[in-house]
């Protein structure tokens, strides 16, 4: 392989990682917020697909992709609120409801989205960060979506909120110890409802990225399970928003590595790279002695950590 080849691979990898990681970033931040409040939402896959469809439809009708993004966030908010409202009922299993919501969200998106499969809608613009390069091929790879920057900002914002605001502390208290939260006069159910709804909104924006930026169209096979993997990403990120960014980039890079290698003629073997993040997450959970260490980062109220 020549030097140019290596550089091409690296840059393609970086660009691919950023592109592929953006939906991961939004769903993981949403799931992070939800789990910090002590609840699991396995249904973000449905929210993601619905968000993609709504964003595309609104962008198509209004001509404004940003309006589409806002609508996707709204749809996600409603889906999350529905999940939150159901899960606060006694004897309802949040894992099963999550999977049912995944089915419901996907079904709703395909049902309402049928007319939008053919047409094309105004897409989100990209920010050409690579213009200073004199290699147009590379420059094109470095076009970055503004949504990625929004996600970047959101990760830092969420981190700041968790540390520096009363609302953030309240979410953390609720997720860590419901009894202590009640003793402080916090309405545990209400906090979780809001956290789940806002988490859904974030996942909806992730869907908007899929349909309005990359791949940039609406069809039935748009998502490749990014929403479902939010739970794994958040474990990987140890429930910290800034680590969600790293985890998303890592998961994205692993997914992008295949096509990047393909571009320089290496075709076999890279599917294992796709599995690498999941294998790694599993190893982290099973690793000797670290089960307890990993658990100490998890919100105490989370059902999947018991």
């Amino acid at each position: 392989m020549t030097d140019t080849g290596v550089i091409t691979v690296l840059i393609a990898l970086l660009a691919g990682a950023i592109r592929v990681s953006t939906p991961f970033l939004f769903v993981s931040l949403g799931e992070c917020l939800t789990e910090k409040s002590g609840r699991v939402n396995l249904g973000l896959e449905g929210t993601l697909v619905l968000g993609a469809m709504v964003a595309f439809a609104i962008s198509y009708h209004s001509g404004s992709p940003w309006l589409g993004v806002a609508a996707a966030a709204g749809a996600g908010f409603l889906m999350g609120a529905l999940h939150g409202a159901i899960c606060r009922l006694p004897r309802v299993n949040d894992i099963a409801i999550g999977i049912a919501m995944m089915s419901f969200g996907t079904g709703l998106a395909l049902f309402l989205g049928k007319p939008y499969i053919q047409p094309s809608a105004p897409r989100l613009p990209s920010l050409p960060l690579g213009d200073w390069l004199d290699m147009p091929a590379l420059a094109q790879m470095l076009d970055v979506s503004p949504l990625f920057l929004v996600g970047l900002a959101l990760a830092f914002l969420l981190d700041w909120v968790f540390r520096n605001t009363r609302a953030g502390l309240i979410v953390r208290v609720t997720g860590d110890d419901a009894a202590a939260a009640r003793a402080l006069g916090i309405g545990v159910d209400r906090v979780r409802l809001f956290a789940t709804a806002l988490g859904g909104a974030s996942a909806g924006v992730g869907g908007a990225f899929l349909s309005l930026y990359y791949p940039g169209s609406w069809n039935e096979g748009l998502s490749s399970g990014q929403g479902l993997m939010a739970v794994a990403l958040v474990i990987f990120a140890r429930w910290q928003p800034r680590r969600c960014l790293l985890a998303s980039l890592f998961f994205g890079a692993a997914s992008a590595l295949g096509p990047a290698l393909q571009s320089v003629g290496i075709t076999a073997g890279y599917y294992f790279l796709n599995a690498a993040p999941y294998v790694l997450t599993l190893l982290i959970m099973a690793g000797s002695g670290s089960a307890r260490r990993a658990a100490q980062y998890a919100p105490g109220e989370l059902s999947i950590n018991r």
Partner: protein, 530 residues
């Protein structure tokens, strides 16, 4: 609530007086005309056995319960406390036996979120200055930026107290504040609190079992027993307090169902090999802290060894390790001289039976039928299973029905889920399972009569004595001292995960037991180990 604003310069200690408080739960009188006077700036100790009414009393003061009768006065004014938040508003704060701090938050975050006027956006620099200025006025030091989960027990307890001070709660109720602390930590914290009371900054009401701490720190004592104030005052000796706490033996014998017990056959004169031997058992609790620290004990066939003690001193872990619900970190268990591991085959071969406390939680499956629950010990054996694997459901129902009749388990049918039965009937069903086999070589029973009415308790105690008369080695673990004294041939006291005292029933006196409840660390006041 009006008095929310934080002012660290408020006048100081609050005086509290309770007059004639009474509280009933159903037919049970938890508090009976209890009066208590704690002047401002006093360090007051509240003593009593489990179930003496200490918790009920402080819960009434804090507004968790409303007393049926009586009044509470703060600084001479009558107040009505309807819930803990109102108590907080009046300056009453409590440190609970379990921590109320949020483990994943830092100490500073815990303090700020506890304030109800915490700002929407927290200016940490300013908050830090406020907290540090506040800390400078207290004798306590804790690392502010570490997660509470990573703090030591002593640091957490200090932080709990700091939280009350930070919220300006100048009447402090402490519920066994030193039970998770080392003696050095305990002395440091109580010493600081004592100094603060002497400066008139706070008033302390401390629930405790430790006479040493009472002697060292308390100005005055109130002793509760069976919901009544049985004594108190200043300058009492350890023996005086112990006697008040556990009562005079003669005064209580009639009330505990002794009359209903069947005649006890004499123990075999020459006790041979012990039927059950525990050799240096060590185990950890769920949080990895030591729960058992070398429990060694022998029980002979036909003997009841009763273990008394204040709850939370390792009783739960002891039963759990014996029946395989908690792993041993070291130590060995012998039944009839042979090494015992808690597998199904070994339970059977050894003839070892266990009736843990709270049977619905520890020894039953709520969703399975009464008959199913009754046959847990032998469902895979004929005649309940053919060839060891195919259940004969008719035989299971018949076996269940038969034992339900013998043990008077009241249930609409053998098919009713056991979770739908009353506590006494669940207990009877579990006893039916564990006591109906022949022969019983070893029986381990924990708090068998907890929460049961008088008649059920008497019946269950009679069955335990009957098993002993039939030759079983019985290990009885109970938080009810009267029960232990009534049933046991040998009495032991467990404290801090160790057997602190052991003596034949004839040589036991209540005062000595009371002292050992507190850990056998009474120095010259304590009796030598039996």
């Amino acid at each position: 609530m009006s008095n929310e604003a934080l002012s660290f310069t408020s006048p100081g200690a609050i005086a509290l007086e309770a007059i004639g408080l009474s509280k009933r739960f159903g037919s049970f009188k938890a508090l009976d005309d209890v009066s208590l006077k704690v002047p401002a700036g006093e360090f007051h100790a509240l003593l009593g056995e489990n179930g003496a009414g200490k918790s009920t009393l402080v819960k009434c003061l804090m507004g968790f319960h409303r007393a049926d009768e009586g009044a509470v006065l703060l600084d001479g004014r009558e107040v009505s406390v309807r819930n803990p938040r109102e108590a907080q508003g009046l300056g009453l704060g409590m440190v609970y036996q379990h921590f109320t701090l949020v483990p994943s938050l830092t100490a500073a975050e815990n303090l700020v979120i506890a304030r109800r006027d915490a700002p929407a956006v927290i200016d940490w620099a300013a908050e830090r200055r406020r907290i540090e200025a506040f800390l400078d006025r207290t004798p306590f030091r804790v690392p502010l930026d570490r997660r509470v989960g990573a703090l030591s027990a002593g640091e957490r307890q200090k932080l709990e107290i700091l939280k009350l001070l930070y919220l300006d709660q100048r009447f402090m109720i402490l519920d066994e504040p030193t039970s998770v602390l080392t003696p050095a930590e305990a002395d440091e914290i109580l010493g600081h609190l004592k100094a603060m009371t002497e400066r008139g900054e706070i008033t302390v009401l401390m629930i405790t079992h430790k006479f040493r701490e009472v002697q060292a720190f308390a100005d005055a004592v109130t002793v509760l027993r069976r919901g009544r104030v049985v004594g108190g005052g200043r300058g009492l000796s350890t023996r005086e307090m112990a006697t008040m706490m556990v009562g005079e033996a003669a005064a209580t014998a009639g009330a505990s169902g002794k009359a209903a017990l069947p005649e006890r056959r004499a123990m075999p004169a020459s006790v041979g090999e012990p039927a059950l031997e525990l050799a240096g058992l060590f185990a950890e609790d769920d949080d990895g802290r030591p729960a058992l620290r070398g429990v060694s004990l022998k029980v002979a066939a036909g003997e009841i060894v009763g273990i008394a003690g204040v709850s939370g001193n390792g009783q739960g872990a002891l039963v759990e390790t014996c029946c395989g619900q908690r792993p041993l970190s070291s130590g060995q268990m012998f039944v009839n001289g042979r090494d015992f591991l808690p597998t199904r085959r070994a339970f059977d071969a050894a003839g070892l039976f266990v009736v843990p406390e709270e049977p619905l939680k520890n020894a039953a499956v709520a969703g399975m039928s009464v008959a199913d629950n009754i046959v847990f010990r032998r469902f895979e054996k004929p005649p309940l299973s053919r060839r060891g694997w195919w259940l004969d459901r008719r035989a299971i129902r018949a076996a269940g029905r038969e034992l339900m009749t013998r043990f008077r388990v009241a249930s609409p049918s053998p098919d009713t889920p056991i979770g739908a039965l009353s506590g006494g009937n669940v207990q009877r069903a579990v006893l039916a399972r564990e006591l109906s086999a022949e022969p019983i070589a070893v029986l381990i029973v924990a708090n068998p009569c907890f929460g049961l009415d008088f008649a059920s308790a008497a019946e269950i105690r009679a069955r335990i004595v009957a098993a002993r008369n039939a030759g079983a080695a019985v290990l009885l673990i109970s938080e009810d001292l009267d029960e232990v004294l009534d049933l046991s041939d040998t009495v032991a006291v467990i404290s801090h995960g160790q057997i602190a005292y052991k003596a034949p029933i004839a040589e036991v006196d209540r005062g000595t037991i009371g002292i050992h409840f507190a850990g056998g660390s009474e120095g010259e006041q304590g009796a030598p180990l039996g």
